[in-house]
Subunit: 139 residues, 2 copies
Amino acid sequence: MLNNSQYIDKLRSSGLRPTKQRVKICEVLFNTDKTFHFTINELVKKISKVSNHKISLATVYNTVHSFKKKGYLKEIPINSDQSYFDTNTSHHHHFYDESQKNLIDIDDSDVEPVKINTKIPGKKIKSVEVLVKVEDDKS
Amino acid sequence: MLNNSQYIDKLRSSGLRPTKQRVKICEVLFNTDKTFHFTINELVKKISKVSNHKISLATVYNTVHSFKKKGYLKEIPINSDQSYFDTNTSHHHHFYDESQKNLIDIDDSDVEPVKINTKIPGKKIKSVEVLVKVEDDKS
DNA sequence: TCAATAGTTTAGAACAATTATAATGTAGAA
DNA sequence: TTCTACATTATAATTGTTCTAAACTATTGA
């Protein structure tokens, strides 16, 4: 929940020029209490709903990728025809409802720490993500 | 590690006609002690290495999808430009080395049971998969 | 204040993975 | 053997994403 000048500062301080397009995308992504999941397509639609000045698809891709690189967004590992991104960059997990193609956050505190009793020589763990696939309970 | 007539039985018993192509793909996928991970592209290459009668790309896609539906293959949830499949359909997890785009199995016994302390009304858990992303340890 | 320049945006082309199409082929049942 | 439903095939179509190269703009420093 920041205002534009704060987005400008944030962008500048991370080495990204605060262009109109980037600030607009910040507004759409971060001007809310809730974090959310989105695909590029959904983001494009949301932008055009909020703004009358359209941002080109290439710019949306570029911006999402640079925000991901800067750590403002996370990519969620699920198999889908599209990539999902998450404005919640804290450590957490997901339910994925395959029937409705719906993603739901699982708070890190709702998952007991995952203990991995094996390792790969020369590699260190970067992240541990749990994906819980659910389906309709017909019982 | 089955022979062709066993694959034929297996296919027939799951309602899939044992065509030449499906039996050949069974051989390529399951005629080994080790389970492995593959993309459709890699599978196509492997088939053409083993056999001189080529199977069309569409058939490989169709077959992999029907094998997945029958539970002979699992799709591995990672973000990539291609889908990864796994001949190991038992419950297990993965390391993903992003720098080398390399997937490594983690035995279920090497991961302490993942306890999820929340649920979604009306849904039941279908699977719980852990993806551990690793990177080079420069320390 | 005003170029210079390096980073950005853009439309559209290109690309790659996957799916659809529709004609031909084949397994299994009668 | 013949019929029918299911499979395979080559190819076209589709879709998500990346590339390209020209136009644009934020920043620097003269």
